[in-house]
């Protein structure tokens, strides 16, 4: 069984220091003071995507060590990818700096986390479009099944060229930056939430899945991401992407929002939706992929 012990998010508002529910009116990403969050590292050449992942990981570790590091990123470092492509197109492939090539690799983030937290354990990186984080979380659940502790998170970075491309593609939404990480273990003691399951499947299977889990609006609450659940019968939920913006791994933000809700007794309503008094489970339903949905189910 997978229990969440710590979380950390960098997103709109100062979520890094004060959490998500205290920052629901934040409009711009607020980066923490990385010099304090990531000690002893030369940050000058580190891209935001690595800094976000590393700062969140260090916070989730809180000085402890874990058996594994699992990271999800939809696009990795587009900044370095674009930089390296441009360098060989513009230079006509003469002498190139390898630095952007090295930093463009998707697992740069998980690699840097291992390097700077001296973690020699399990290490991997998932990239499955809008459901990248759900794949990483499933691996983290497997690790806890195997008796291991793990930090797992999602991170994506918005850069100008990406939004130029999205505008040209006539995308309804532009991309934001953001990252959330979690510390999971098989131990219930002192945990703040339990991950009941994490599923990736086709959109049309949502109703039957909710039935299979006996979803009840009286006891359960839905956080839905990247579009509402309205096309499904009688189902609505708070759209977490209204708060964190759109990025491929923003269901990790939804997960932290859910964990905070499970641990807060003084909120009865969120964005017009009543939260059940005896809140049992939260379903984080992610619609950011065209064909697939991700469903993360958590309880206290």
């Amino acid at each position: 069984m997978a229990f969440i012990h710590k979380y950390s998010t960098i997103s709109n508002g100062d979520t890094f220091n004060f959490g998500i529910l205290n920052n629901l009116d934040g409009n711009n990403i607020t980066h923490p003071d990385y010099k304090n969050a990531i000690l002893g590292v030369n940050l000058r050449r580190m891209s935001d995507i690595v800094k976000m992942g590393l700062a969140n990981s260090i916070k989730c570790l809180n000085g402890s060590q874990v058996d594994g590091v699992v990271v999800a990123t939809g696009l990795g470092s587009m900044l370095n990818t674009e930089l390296f492509i441009s360098s060989f197109i513009d230079n006509n492939q003469s002498i190139l700096s390898p630095t952007p090539f090295i930093n463009s690799v998707h697992n740069t983030i998980s690699g840097e986390i291992a390097l700077h937290t001296k973690n020699h354990g399990y290490n991997t990186t998932y990239s499955q479009g809008g459901v990248s984080f759900e794949g990483a979380l499933l691996d983290a659940i497997l690790l806890t099944n195997e008796g291991k502790t793990v930090i797992v998170g999602g991170v994506d970075e918005s850069i100008p060229v990406l939004n130029e491309i999205l505008s040209k593609l006539k995308s309804k939404r532009l991309f934001s930056s953001g990252s959330s990480f979690f510390n999971l273990s098989p131990n219930k003691k002192n945990s703040i939430a339990e991950v009941v399951n994490c599923i990736i499947t086709k959109r049309e299977k949502l109703n039957s899945l909710l039935d299979a889990y006996n979803y009840s609006p009286k006891k359960d609450f839905i956080l839905s991401g990247n579009s509402s659940c309205k096309y499904v019968n009688n189902l609505e939920g708070v759209n977490y992407s209204n708060y964190c913006g759109t990025y491929m791994t923003n269901s990790s933000y939804g997960l932290q929002m859910g964990v905070e809700l499970l641990n807060t007794s003084n909120i009865s309503e969120l964005n017009g939706f009543n939260i059940p008094k005896k809140l049992n489970r939260i379903f984080i339903i992610n619609h950011s992929s065209n064909q697939d949905i991700g469903i993360i189910i958590i309880k206290k």
Partner: protein
């Protein structure tokens, strides 16, 4: 729960199917040649290039003309997956997952866009998930799907995840796919790191100068007993063990004594409940870079001692990046099935730092029951798989 391998598919520079790959390996035929189809490179590069255009690949995959502008890694992956999947069907009573692995996804189309600024929609194929999404639809799968991108260990991690999903009863059947085509991005990238040999690569040779890249895709089908009882598929091999550890030493280089590599191999041996003496052959990562082969060689020596049989097949295919792990997993199965060990190519002189001596001639006088295969990558990634009969 036992993890059986029941389907294999492979396309590489040494063959467009399993039999062709096997024939090339046992006749010591390399697929490395001057890279030609990937045009406009600023100098001559040697690589394991598949000498078929995207149009020809689309024809082999029975795709119609409009699909010619799909990423090359997708075309290669589709051909390999068709071979492994055969006439299998999705089934309500078999929980089937698909795990892709790639480093470049649709990078070839992205490069084209940045060069020409034409067809912006080709950028929709950029994400690494492009291959897995396509295959999942093509084979009508509706279960768990994900893509692993851990550089050169990607598909080894894919097999490891698939095996763990079956062992933990999260899936009954898993398709693991790994595919990377040659791109300007990767050829220029490894060249910028000054580890791209301008001659044929020489893994584990004292005078090795670096790697040659290659392109390949491969697919394996993993099943538990319940799934096999329904599919009636023949068991080809067993995934006995797996280990993943991080070197935590440097972003691209391996530590001098290969601590991460040693740890990954030890973890895999523990998972398989085997002592090192039970491993008949080590299929090394052996990229022919100065750094990898020394670090890996020392790690193998420290775990297995001086008489361990080992070699690398990078001289046949080139380094196929994300596909390397699954390609070599399949070659390891060929070694077990035919009791044959495929030697290094281009090997002349033993490395002065090592006592162990790699296999430099075809060996057919051996009994091979268990093979350990390594895949290492940027980011300190070290993954080891152990394959049995």
């Amino acid at each position: 729960m036992k993890v059986s391998v029941t389907g294999l598919g492979i396309v590489s520079a040494i063959g467009m199917n399993l039999e062709e790959n096997h024939n090339s390996l046992k006749t010591l035929k390399s697929g490395i040649s001057r890279i030609e189809l990937l045009s406009n490179l600023d100098k001559a590069f040697l690589g394991g290039e598949i000498k078929l255009t995207n149009k020809q690949l689309a024809e082999i995959a029975f795709l119609n003309e409009e699909n010619e502008c799909l990423p090359r890694s997708l075309l290669l992956s589709l051909i390999a997956t068709k071979q492994a999947w055969g006439d299998s069907k999705p089934s309500k009573s078999i929980r089937t997952a698909i795990i892709g692995s790639t480093t470049i996804g649709g990078m070839d189309l992205t490069e084209d866009y940045f060069k020409t600024k034409r067809n912006i929609h080709s950028l929709e194929n950029h994400p690494c998930s492009v291959v897995t999404d396509y295959l999942s639809d093509y084979f009508q799968l509706d279960g768990f799907k994900t893509t692993i991108s851990t550089a050169c260990s990607s598909s080894a991690n894919g097999i490891m995840l698939g095996a763990r999903m079956i062992k933990n009863n999260f899936a009954d059947r898993v398709l693991v796919v790994g595919g990377d085509a040659l791109t300007h991005f990767t050829v220029n990238g490894f060249n910028s790191l000054l580890i791209y040999d301008s001659e044929l690569c020489k893994p584990f040779d004292n005078n090795r100068k670096g790697l040659n890249l290659g392109e390949a895709a491969a697919c394996v089908v993993l099943e538990n007993e319940k799934s096999i009882s329904i599919t009636k598929n023949k068991k080809i091999a067993t995934v006995l063990g797996w280990g993943n550890a991080n070197d935590a030493y440097h972003q691209t280089a391996s530590s001098p004594n290969g601590e991460g590599a040693q740890k990954a191999m030890q973890l895999a041996l523990v998972e398989a409940k085997l002592s090192p003496s039970k491993i008949d052959y080590v299929n090394a990562h052996g990229t022919a870079t100065s750094n990898n082969d020394l670090s890996e060689g020392r790690a193998i020596e420290s775990i297995f001692g001086e008489s361990q049989l080992f070699s690398s097949t990078k001289g046949y295919t080139g380094h196929t990046l994300a596909a390397a792990g699954i390609v070599e997993f399949i070659y390891s199965i060929l070694s077990i099935e035919t009791n044959t060990l495929f030697p290094l190519l281009n090997y002349n002189e033993k490395m002065s730092e090592l006592k162990i001596r790699p296999i430099s001639e075809l060996k057919t006088d051996v009994v091979i029951k268990r093979v350990l295969s390594n895949s290492f990558g940027f980011g300190g990634n070290n993954t080891t798989l152990i394959i049995g009969e």
